[in-house]
């Protein structure tokens, strides 16, 4: 090797050694200030907490743009799904119910542009009649207030053990219903349709809930309470925004009988059991209950 080549090599060696030392110092010995991180670097546990706070703050101030800006700092890839998933987890991990509700509400608001939702309050007197029976009720909202309290129709059902129970307040006569003031945005939801759905075989029997406001718009963050012998579960609409902002579902266990109500509603839907459907050749498969609630 001649002198000129040796000269270049030792300079290159020095450069490489220098770069290595520089990187060791910059990355290991004295990295950039650790005390000025941004929310995107938070551990997933803390990101979850941050999302809860964002959702609670949104529930308090109803400032969607601020919530959106705060969520962007977390740099989540799919913010709607992450919020909805977290809301689902919050329902089962013992978190306060208002956290799950706030997360679901924010997810729904971000996805559908749903404005602040006025949830029905528990009424002191609620006639809450079911809608008048019609030959073929549909899933559309029926904003016209009913004039008499009757049993909830469910023409598609073949289950004999189903009926709608009313709490004592709902046994007021029709005159009391007619004297009721005009419905408002905070009126309680009433059952508009109860159907057995057998169009698609399901891996497990479920009950699907759709909640619509008086204008027929899906309503997220409505709390649903389902009870059975020895158990109770709370869940919210809008936690599966891909299926609709007013949608919620719950898996039923075979052999169990469930009662369901919306928080703030006076109706208790009783006798919900696993729906068993049958193919033309007689082969059974699981179906679903579909309950549609509307604001009168």
């Amino acid at each position: 090797m001649n002198e000129e080549s040796r000269g270049s090599l030792y300079l290159l060696t020095g450069l490489v050694i220098g770069i290595a030392l520089g990187l060791i110092y910059a990355w290991l010995i004295n990295p950039l200030d650790y005390q000025n991180t941004s929310p995107r670097s938070l551990a997933s546990e803390y990101k979850d907490r941050q999302r809860v706070l964002i959702a609670l703050a949104y529930a308090a101030d109803e400032n969607l743009e601020r919530a959106r800006a705060r969520l962007e700092l977390l740099e989540d890839p799919d913010v709607y799904t992450i919020l909805a998933d977290q809301a689902q987890r919050a329902l089962t991990d013992g978190s306060p119910p208002q956290e799950a509700r706030a997360l679901g509400l924010l997810s729904a608001a971000l996805r559908g542009g749903a404005g602040p939702v006025i949830l029905p309050t528990v009424p002191t007197f609620t006639p809450s009649p079911s809608p008048s029976p019609t030959p073929e009720p549909t899933l559309e909202a029926s904003p016209a207030p009913p004039t008499e309290a009757v049993e909830t129709p469910f023409p598609a059902s073949t289950d004999a053990a189903v009926e709608t129970d009313m709490p004592p307040a709902a046994t007021e006569d029709a005159a009391a219903v007619e004297n009721n003031p005009a419905p408002t945005s905070s009126s309680p939801y009433i059952l508009d349709a109860r159907e057995q759905i057998c169009d698609t075989p399901l891996p497990r029997p479920i009950v699907e809930i759709q909640v619509l406001n008086a204008a027929g718009e899906p309503q997220p963050a409505v709390e649903v309470v389902i009870t059975w012998d020895g158990g109770e579960e709370h869940f919210y609409t809008g936690l599966k925004p891909e299926l609709g902002l007013g949608y919620a579902d719950f898996t039923l266990q075979e052999g169990e009988t469930y009662n369901l109500r919306l928080v703030g509603g006076a109706q208790i839907i009783t006798g919900l059991t696993a729906v068993q459907c049958a193919e033309l050749n007689g082969e059974p498969y699981w179906g679903a209950w579909r309950l549609t609630f509307v604001q009168p």
């Binding site: 290159l12 803390y46 609670l56």
Partner: protein, 124 residues
């Protein structure tokens, strides 16, 4: 040039090359590709983000009035007392935040401080 002089020059150049390399390494490590921190805690957030975190806690507190939960939510921000954490956030937020936000933060700070003082002097 004598052999010794030539050797000295080479060493000098060698160290200059190392210095240049270190400069390049630092520039790359600090500016071009700084180390990415992941899995950090809220205590390491910059003061602006901490202030916003405190504001969110204050907004939640305004709705639920649950001081214990507010304390729990502030705990990840560090070792100082919760009222001190909120006070620091207020001080950093005062030049930028609207009065309404500052007010709910002050309310939280006031309630926290009152509770801490009550705990310190239970006999009073």
């Amino acid at each position: 040039m004598s052999y010794n002089t030539s050797r000295t020059v080479r060493w000098i150049r060698f160290f200059i090359a190392i210095a240049i390399g270190m400069g390049l390494g630092l520039f790359y490590g600090w500016v071009i590709n700084p180390i990415e921190f992941t899995d950090t805690a809220p205590s390491s957030l910059s003061i602006d983000y901490k202030a916003d975190y405190v504001l969110m806690v204050a907004e939640a507190y305004q709705a639920d009035r649950d001081l214990l939960r507010a304390r729990e939510r502030l705990a990840p921000l560090g070792g100082a007392s919760p009222s001190q954490i909120v006070l620091q956030a207020i001080l950093s937020a005062e030049p930028h935040y609207v009065e309404r936000d500052l007010e709910i933060m002050r309310q939280l700070q006031s309630d926290l401080q009152a509770q801490e003082q009550g705990l310190e002097s239970p006999g009073l």
